[in-house]
Amino acid sequence: MINISSKLVRDAVQELAKLPGIGAKTALRLVLHLLRQDVDTSVMLGNAIVSMRTNIKFCIKCHNIADGDYCHICTNPQRDGSTICIVENIKDVMVIENTGQFKGLYHVLGGIISPMDGIGPSHLNLDNIEKRIVENNVKEVIFALPTTIEGDTTSFYIFKKLKPLNLNITTLARGVAIGDDLEYTDEITLGRSLVNRVMYSV
């Protein structure tokens, strides 16, 4: 590592280098770039980050990111409230939205069951799900979870929880990589597997 004499620059480099995919070299390059720009550029960047992190909320209903109490999807009257797609995280919502094939609402778990990583069912956003289904007269729940052992475990767990509610439980057609691989799956394939979803079976 190059010896940086300014503590101010050093601190900025250190903070940036904590981000995924950014090493010390890249962090230094970014900082030097900002130094060449107007002061405003850095102020705007800093403010946007602070404001994003301190003001962001999570939708009371679906746990997606939101600017208010509810997210832009839950508050959109055009969306079909009788279908809920269950996903692991916010990134999955973005990827599925990108396909343009889904008009229902989401439920973001905020994780996947993996006792090895200290994550049990109680760590997921599942407390309000049954209430949500009953109160909103939901007809179908779609699992869009990873095709891994952890994804299977999570699907089964939620399936058992929802079974008494007597609704259609479906899952993406197999063979579609989701979860960590979701962003690598092309939109057309993912969109098609949503349209061609199948009944969930154990």
Binding site: P115, G118, G120, P121, I149, D152, T153, F156, Y157, K160
Partner: protein
């Protein structure tokens, strides 16, 4: 030289910073290759390098980075094979802090385990005695490594099984800590375990039923007959279904906070006259059993794959007298093909045996990390 159409051999081995070696390149005979030299010159390390290129790991040291030359940061092994007349290049690289890379013809594998089975290998080494003296885990690992060399699906199911098992065990600990036990979780893990576990059980059963007669033949050949030695695959799944087994063990599992029953507890019993050979067999009988087991494995893989695995005979004279070794080498050299690597401290003893056989061979003498052909 006459060649059977389904042949496989290692033509050239390039070694960089592996164990005691810094940089070496060796050319081999498609049939018999010998390494002679004093104890401690690193003869076995050559066999281990060949083992590495087949099974993606050392036969002796499971920690990859501990096989790097002590003064270096990485090692590279490169094997140039000929499979059915076609060149196959296998690359293995291990770097400190960066893990392991495996390439086949310059293309890196998605998962390293995909390589296992391409080039089957059988090692016979003094270290094998651990199979008798060690815990059941050694024997399970042995069984799994043999089956994985001809059945890709088995290895996948095994990896899956172990993964689910780890999750189940973690959950048992988690539940004990929090005091909340969710039966749905166990139900899910059990379902996944049963699916893979029953398959693994069936495959192990088939494996032993087919291995046993071949083993018997070899044991008789090596011992001169008359002794009653038996291999027996032991599994709780012979007694009840896996589902019942898990259901009956759950209270115990909850208390001990791990999965106490399943195919991860299977074992291979080795008996002489109905008693464990570990306590009731002589050292000679134990050695004979191990060699017979390995040769049976060799023959068995050949039956399934229609090619002879590479046979690695490490310090074979330590296990058997010269007459037996001569017999083994004679049997193998009478096959239409099949490549063998042998280590020995006495170059003249090996030369003597090879002189009587009309089979292509190469003898290396190792001293101060240098190889000379003799």
């Amino acid at each position: 030289m006459h060649q059977h159409p389904f042949s496989m051999f290692l033509k050239q081995l390039n070694i960089l910073n592996f164990k005691n070696y810094e940089e070496s390149s060796l050319e081999f005979s498609p049939r018999i290759n010998c390494f002679a030299g004093n104890n401690g010159v690193g003869k076995t390390n050559i066999l281990d390098a060949i083992h590495y290129l087949s099974l993606t790991k050392s036969y002796f040291n499971p920690v990859d980075t501990q096989n790097i030359n002590y003064s270096k940061d990485f090692f590279v092994l490169e094997g140039k094979y000929v499979l059915d007349g076609v060149a196959e290049n296998v690359f293995c690289g291990v770097q400190r802090n960066q893990g392991k890379k495996f390439k086949r013809n310059d293309k890196e594998y998605g998962k390293i385990s995909e390589h296992i089975g391409l080039i089957p290998v059988v090692m016979i080494s003094p270290g094998d005695s651990e199979l008798i003296l060690g815990g059941s885990e050694m024997r399970r690992r042995y069984i799994d490594s043999v089956i994985s060399q001809y059945n890709r699906h088995y290895l996948e199911q095994l990896i899956r099984y172990n993964h689910v098992l780890q999750q189940r065990n973690s959950y048992l600990k988690m539940a004990a800590k929090s005091g909340i036990f969710d039966t749905t979780m166990i139900e899910m893990f059990d379902m996944q375990l049963i699916k893979c576990g029953e398959y693994i059980f069936e495959e192990r059963k088939i494996f032993f039923s087919r291995l046993q007669p071949v083993f018997d033949q070899y044991y008789e050949f090596l011992s001169g007959g008359a002794e009653l030695v038996q291999l027996k695959y032991e599994s709780a799944l012979f007694i009840e279904s896996f589902a019942d087994l898990l259901a009956h063990s759950i209270e115990k599992d909850k208390i001990l906070q791990y999965t106490t029953s399943g195919i991860h507890k299977d074992d291979l019993s080795m008996e002489i006259y109905g008693l464990p050979i570990k306590k009731n067999g002589s050292q000679g009988q134990q050695k004979t059993l191990l060699v017979a087991l390995k040769l049976a494995q060799y023959q068995f893989i050949h039956q399934i794959r229609s090619l002879y695995p590479i046979l690695l005979l490490d310090d074979i004279f330590d296990k058997l007298d010269e007459k037996r070794v001569r017999q083994i080498i004679t049997v193998v050299s009478e096959l239409q093909n099949g490549q063998i690597f042998i280590t020995d401290t006495h170059p003249q003893r090996l030369k003597g045996i090879l002189a009587e056989l009309e089979v292509d061979n190469k003898v290396y003498f190792i001293e101060n990390n240098l190889f000379t052909t003799i």
